[in-house]
């Protein structure tokens, strides 16, 4: 079993010469970078709408397209209805949209964010103050039972194990998932997140546990 790692977490974007353009495609996300009159015109299209940015970039440094996790917890609305009897368990995968960010990396290695490219299918809401408040994202995803055959280039596949520890049947309205940067892994040209265990103590209360991703020996040995 051999996976061919492809680093989709960080991609170098070539700066075009005068009059030239550079194209980057990542699923539905299209970037077009054009060198015009000393500046760079960036046109982005996320599958729904396009935006334009003018970038002023110095001669030394590199432009990178990086993937980063959502800033806040994501309430994943599963498209199917999950029904868990007391003590029941389900295993599968959900897709959580990730954010892309254009980053300018200076020759000394320091990186600074230029443009954020939020995915159109990741909504953000303010849930008020207090416990359970703050910002939260919401996204919709099917509940996949296996990883193969799923093509989500703009989303990270999160292995989840959902368990009902309560005494009643639980039909969770959503699965709350918090992704961290170190939870993301580029595997086989796709994005995979650290596995989760979501334990329901009641229909409204869920507890999320994460299994940290180890640094693989193959990655260490290069």
């Amino acid at each position: 079993m051999s996976f061919k790692p492809l680093n989709v977490l960080r991609q170098n974007v070539d700066l075009p010469g005068p009059g030239e353009t550079t194209r980057v495609e990542r699923g539905r996300l299209h970037l077009l970078l054009e060198h015009k009159r000393g500046g760079y015109l960036l046109v982005t299209h996320d599958g729904v709408r396009s935006r334009r940015y003018w970038l002023g970039l110095p001669a030394s440094g590199t432009l990178e397209l990086r993937v980063r996790p959502p800033d806040h917890r994501v309430q994943v609305n599963v498209q199917e209805v999950l029904c868990l009897a007391p003590g029941g368990r389900l295993r599968g995968y959900v897709a959580v949209p990730v954010l892309h960010r254009l980053v300018w990396v200076r020759p000394d290695g320091s990186a600074q964010a230029l443009v954020d490219l939020p995915p159109p299918d990741l909504q953000t809401a303010w849930l008020g103050e207090g416990e359970g408040g703050g910002y939260a994202h919401s996204a919709a995803s099917p509940f996949f039972v296996e990883r193969r055959g799923i093509d989500h280039e703009l989303a990270s596949l999160v292995p989840v194990s959902v368990r009902n520890d309560s005494d009643v049947v639980v039909r969770p309205p959503h699965l709350a998932i918090t992704l961290r940067e170190r939870d993301l892994l580029a595997l086989d040209g796709r994005l995979l997140a650290a596995p989760r265990r979501i334990v329901f103590t009641s229909e409204q209360h869920q507890r999320e546990l994460v299994r940290p991703l180890p640094a693989t020996l193959a990655e260490v040995l290069g």
Binding site: D71, T124, W126, L127, G134, R180, P214, L221
Partner: protein, 321 residues
Amino acid sequence: MRLGGLAVVLLGVAAACDGFGDSRMQRLEEEVRALRAAQAGAPADVTDAMAPLRSAVEVLVQRGEVERTRWTALAAEIDQLATLVQGVVEAGRRGEVDALRQRIGELERQAAERAKAQDEDRDLLLRALEATANKLEAFLQQARVRKGAALPEGAVPEGGRGSTLWRSVRDPRVLWPLGLAVVGVVGLLAWSRRRRRPSVLPLDAPDAFVDAPPPPSSKEAGLDGRDGYLTDSMASLCGPLSLLVEVRTANGEAASQRLSNWLAQDPRVLARPVPTFEVRPGVLHARFYVAAGMSLAERNSLAAEVRARGCGESHADRRSA
């Protein structure tokens, strides 16, 4: 490494079968000879042969250093944040800030302890590697000397060779260093596997991610309507920013419907609090909310786009104009 593994197998077989037949030993020796012939291009020096393992350990150590640096920077940033927040929160919430500062102090102490443990681990690993390389080197040299004494160069292989190898392996002066080397390598592998073994941790465990405390209201933080960037950590603490856009249009109802659909699809606009629209004669007031981390330039750009959409212009129209 392969040679070491083979030596382990040899030892195990030898220990298990004391009365090993000459013919089987001869076959075993031929296999060893074939393996050595295959490894003729491999580095003869054990230190060279173990260079990949050494580099891997060094990479692991460097990663630990990077993690430690990141941890320290994070603690410093949170400390600075707590200092900033302490000046603006009400007296009733000072206790929370103090608790946060204590927690930061605890985190820094843990980071220092972890750094010290990492240094000790690194020294232990490097010492183990050195010892393993030395023992293996000594063993190989001894085996070569014994083989050279028993078999002159160019001699035809005989059945007695198996017994020479057998004697050299069973010699206590060889057996002990070899055993120590094998134990060292196996221990190193086990230690590495233990470090890499994933473990399930709750998100609220001290070693894992700690959820941010409930964010204070924007008024308490004194950041309502401020211009410019906020850092990500600060932005997650502040409430949403409201944007009020005045759209001049003759048909306010149609414009509000159009804008409502458009805002619902924009990921920069918060779904909650929901956008509100107020229709007045000849003008439409649209109020919507964005996250506190959005820059002033981006907010202005969004407001301009909303104004244009409300008037019925599309992005392409504006561009062509």
